[in-house]
């Protein structure tokens, strides 16, 4: 819904277009602009380059990294505060090498280790689209990292260790569809940025590509074809459905993935979504082997079951099967059985909201239960969910709940 204020702001933005001296797109590049818009959507640029309540692409979001907060820049074509003075070569330099015009180094919070695989033609199209946006004046403090991370030259060393510049190279012997999927996942989609563990320098561990990671105290799950915690039990069609609508019969996107679906994947072409799914299904499986489930007689399981029946079963059902489109199925849920239980604990403590798309507008909510479940109780019910109806995953302790509760409470303040 557009708020009253948003409408007035919209009117102001439209008014700006009529002002003299404002850059506008070349009139004859409509196809390139449309192509660029699709690519900018696939890259989900708007997610990071928009502050809460701010104008799209005008930057100002504080990205939390282990090294401090980085404010995202304004990428509207405003001369003074955006990329209005950038050339196509400047833009390609940022995408492919992580360098600003003039040579300053960008931090890899901007995922140029992925974008380096985007073709020059695609980068030019994205540039053309961004040039077609209304310029928004929004000055962003780009130097918020503390010492020593504020020394951008240190990225020379980082790049030498972890950055491999280079175009995407299709894998021979694979289908065009697979390679299209690889180009999107390994490049513009930068899926690995969240779904791959980080090393101490904040670089993705190449050996563990797409095997899952914890980000903002959420679990970005394993999205290899692993049978236990990955996409092994998901069909290509289910992956497409998930990216398109935000849900499958077993899962509903929430947390950061809700935004990815709403802003990006739900608006992508079906053929690209299918290519992504084919790539994820065919490129292989990797993950930890799952522990065998705790016995139902385990004391933690008995406490957990009592809480589950009282608090969870009305929606998720006694059998853990949930309700289609509204309450995720917990039996067989890969989110429930990730080695890292952060998402499951977090959603019990703080609640959450599902993605809303044209196909599935309802966006159901999970209520917050943190106010009435102690750390021990939350640990027990999460342990029960992780080890019931054929699920098997490591038990969760009260200490883990306590630690996460502190982090997510602090994150809200």
């Amino acid at each position: 819904m557009r708020s009253w204020v948003a409408t007035l702001r919209g009117a102001a933005v439209v008014a700006l277009l009529g002002m003299p001296g404002v850059a506008v797109a070349d009139p004859d590049n409509a196809i390139e602009v449309a192509h660029g818009k699709a690519l900018v959507t696939a890259g989900d640029c708007v997610a990071c380059h928009t502050a809460p309540g701010g104008a799209p692409f005008a930057g100002g979001l504080a990205l939390q990294t282990p090294f401090g907060a980085i404010m995202t820049p304004n990428i509207t074509p405003d001369d003074a505060t955006g990329i209005g003075t950038w050339s196509a070569d400047d833009f390609a330099g940022a995408m492919h090498e992580g360098r600003r015009p003039g040579g300053a180094y960008l931090y890899p919070a901007f995922p140029y280790p992925y974008y380096t695989k985007v073709t020059r033609a695609d980068a030019d199209a994205m540039y053309a689209y961004l040039r077609s946006l209304a310029p928004v004046a929004n000055s962003v403090n780009r130097n918020t990292l503390p010492f020593p991370f504020n020394i951008r030259l240190s990225m020379i060393g980082w790049n030498a260790l972890f950055f491999k510049r280079g175009d995407f190279v299709p894998e021979s012997g694979r289908s065009d569809e697979f390679n299209r999927g690889a180009y999107l996942v390994e490049g513009l989609g930068h899926c690995g940025a969240c779904h791959t563990p980080l090393n101490a320098f904040g670089a993705n561990k190449a050996d563990y590509f797409l095997q899952g990671n914890q980000i903002d105290h959420w679990t970005a799950p394993n999205i290899t074809n692993d049978m236990q915690t990955g996409l092994g039990k998901w069909s290509v069609e289910e992956i497409v459905q998930y990216l398109k609508t935000g849900q499958t019969r077993t899962s509903i996107a929430s947390g950061p993935m809700k935004d990815v679906v709403e802003n990006s994947t739900s608006k992508m072409a079906d053929a690209d979504l299918k290519a992504i799914a084919v790539y994820l299904k065919e490129r292989g499986a990797a993950g930890l082997s799952a522990p065998s489930p705790l016995p139902a007689t385990d004391a933690r399981m008995r406490v957990g079951e009592a809480i589950y029946v009282d608090t969870c079963a009305a929606c998720h059902m006694r059998s853990g099967e949930g309700v289609v489109h509204l309450f995720p199925r917990l039996a067989g849920s890969v989110i429930a059985t990730q080695d890292d239980p952060s998402s499951l604990i977090r959603i019990v403590l703080t609640g959450g909201r599902g993605a809303s798309t044209d196909a599935t507008p309802t966006a159901p909510a999970m209520p917050s239960l943190g106010y009435r479940l102690s750390d021990e109780q939350a640990a027990a019910v999460v342990t029960y969910v992780r080890n019931s109806w054929g699920n098997g995953a490591s038990p969760v302790t009260a200490e883990m709940v306590k630690a996460l509760r502190e982090k997510v409470s602090a994150a809200r303040e």
């Binding site: 009305a314 489109h325 509204l326 044209d358 599935t360 507008p361 909510a365």
Partner: protein
């Protein structure tokens, strides 16, 4: 002084069932639509957490989601010889406040009126002669037939996901459904709810008496359902917190579950909440609405120009807004002239409370629309000749709730407090059930709405004045129905029964029902109706008025199904209007 805002194509006054439906349908045509809602925004995810939604004290006792009398109330009297006084605490009915309106706090009972209901005046006179018509009545045929509305009933039922069993599909009577209903094109979108023990006894007893029980059509859903707008609902958990509550389980049909998730995605739709429309503005000749004036939460006054004004507030407040805006001639009972305020009607309630010696009804396992009903005594499904009244009732065995604060039925004569009361509550709670009759109310010259000459709201505008009483016709009907209920209750095996009759004058104090109808009725003659058959004002053709205010009189059913059908019927008419603005019916 109101500040003028940029023009919109459509302004919608009130964002409940009718407002959200018209807003979605018109926004999907690409029109710029703004909805102005007096109360706050409400949605399931933000407002109705399962841990806090079933709070009887907050919602049922303290009226959390209802209109505060200090925002607006009305004055009330039983007849024109009395002086009306303001209602200072809502009792007999409870107007909603905020997004969702009455569609948020209702029980979910979703009926179609019967074919005879739409031509009740002609039908009754044809069958029984003029003599059966009650004294002082204003009973009118509807300007639409059941056949006209059938596709629109269907549309609303499929949007709301109603759980029921068809009794008549394209003329073929269906076993287990209501054999008296008008022919429908197809079955309900979802199967009936699972009934309780009382309903089992009722079904057996009624069938034994030669009656035709069937599961009540329910907006508490039996199974998961996704409607044509893509909005999803979950199966009801039978918690019994429906009426006066928002549903936290996505199980009750409401604007929140069925329409708003799709509506708020529409790029040309905008909602402004806590904005109270004070007036529909008219051109200098009074024939065209130019928009509305409203006051926002900070008390600032705005003018919102629009090409089309859709009045979608609660029935009573639709009537008041027309009166305050000078749209249509105000009704004057003394002269029996004018149209706005004419034919206000309500609903009767009567029945039999049944006390069992040895039963366990588990009334807490309930839902607002759970129940088995029968229509053998509704409309003209039975011979009215020997009884001398017009109208009828749907008779139902239901448990809508067994909530701890308010649900403690005791036999008549039990002390109201103390150990004897406690013992009676304990002894009775599991062993009592009810057979109820929800009856029609006809329209009369002296039951009407107008502006109060004395009392004003905080903005200085006159309050609406309600002049209403049950007439002999309604008392006769309701009391005859109570006896029918009692026969069934006894056949169910009740040890003792207690008749609940309709006696004396209508009282505004105890809660009865929020089925307030009429006042801006639809009709074929501009002298006796405010709206034409498309809910379009006869006088101002770019104003349409949705809701139960359009009913010429009330039938023996809950109104929402018919309100929904009329809304979709009007939406189709508005599409035609948009192609060629002007009156859709020549007066």
């Amino acid at each position: 002084m109101a500040r003028r805002l940029p023009r919109k194509d459509v302004v919608v006054v009130g964002l409940g069932w009718t407002g959200s439906i018209v807003a979605l349908e018109l926004a999907r045509q690409g029109l710029d639509v703004v909805a102005l809602e007096r109360g706050p925004w409400r949605d399931t995810a933000s407002d109705f957490n399962i841990g806090t939604a079933p709070d009887e004290l907050r919602y049922a006792v303290r009226h959390d989601i209802f209109l505060r009398p200090r925002q607006e109330t009305l004055t009330m009297r039983n007849n024109p010889s009395q002086t009306a006084l303001p209602i200072r605490r809502w009792g007999s009915f409870l107007p909603g406040n905020g997004v969702g309106g009455a569609g948020l706090h209702w029980n979910g009972q979703t009926w179609r009126f019967l074919p005879d209901d739409f031509r009740i005046r002609s039908h009754m006179i044809e069958r029984y002669g003029e003599a059966i018509m009650p004294e002082g009545n204003h009973i009118q045929d509807w300007p639409v037939s059941y056949q006209d509305l059938e596709p629109y009933y269907d549309k609303f039922e499929y949007v709301a996901g109603i759980s029921g069993k068809a009794g008549n599909i394209k003329g073929e009577i269906q076993a287990g459904g209501n054999p008296f209903e008008g022919a429908r094109g197809r079955d309900y979108p979802t199967p009936p709810m699972t009934q309780g023990y009382a309903q089992e006894l009722f079904t057996k007893a009624a069938t034994g008496l030669g009656l035709h029980p069937f599961p009540r059509p329910s907006g508490n859903l039996s199974v998961a359902y996704t409607n044509p707008y893509g909005c999803s609902m979950a199966p009801c958990s039978y918690c019994g917190f429906c009426e006066w509550f928002g549903c936290a389980n996505y199980s009750k049909s409401s604007p929140q579950t069925c329409v708003l998730p799709a509506l708020i995605r529409e790029p040309t739709f905008e909602a402004r909440t806590e904005c109270e429309v004070t007036k529909v503005n008219l051109s200098s000749d009074g024939k065209t609405a130019t928009g509305v004036t409203y006051v926002d939460a900070e008390g600032r006054e705005w003018e919102q120009p629009a090409d089309l004004v859709l009045v979608c507030a609660f029935s009573l407040f639709n009537v008041r807004l027309l009166l305050l805006s000078g749209i249509g001639k105000p009704y004057e009972a003394a002269k029996d002239e004018g149209v706005v305020g004419r034919n206000y009607a309500y609903q009767t309630g009567s029945g039999s409370t049944a006390f069992f010696e040895d039963a366990k009804f588990n009334p807490f396992a309930a839902a607002g629309s759970l129940g088995v009903a029968l229509d053998d005594y509704n409309s003209d499904n039975f011979d009215h000749g020997p009884h001398g009244f017009v109208g009828g009732a749907s008779i139902t065995s239901a448990h809508t709730n067994g909530r701890p604060i308010r649900y403690h039925p005791t036999p008549k004569g039990t002390p109201a407090w103390g150990s004897a009361w406690k013992k009676a509550v304990r002894d009775t709670y599991q062993r009592v059930t009810n057979v109820g009759a929800q009856g029609s109310v006809m329209s009369y010259r002296n039951n009407f709405l107008d502006l109060d000459p004395t009392y004003k709201d905080p903005l200085g505008r006159p309050l609406l004045r309600m002049t209403f009483d049950y007439q002999d016709n309604e008392r006769k009907m309701a009391n005859w129905m109570a006896e029918r209920c009692d026969e069934i209750a006894k056949a169910m095996g009740a040890k003792t029964t207690q008749l609940n009759r309709l006696t004396g004058s209508w009282s505004v104090v105890p809660y009865q029902t929020t089925h307030n109808t009429g006042g801006a009725i639809m009709g074929s003659d501009p002298k006796t109706s405010a709206l034409n058959r498309y809910l379009q004002s006869w006088d101002v053709s770019n104003v349409f008025v949705m809701g139960a205010s359009a009913f010429p009189q009330n039938a023996g059913y809950n109104p929402t199904g018919t309100v929904g059908a009329l809304t979709y019927w009007a939406v189709d008419a508005i599409f035609k209007y948009l192609k060629s603005p002007g009156p859709l019916v020549q007066s």
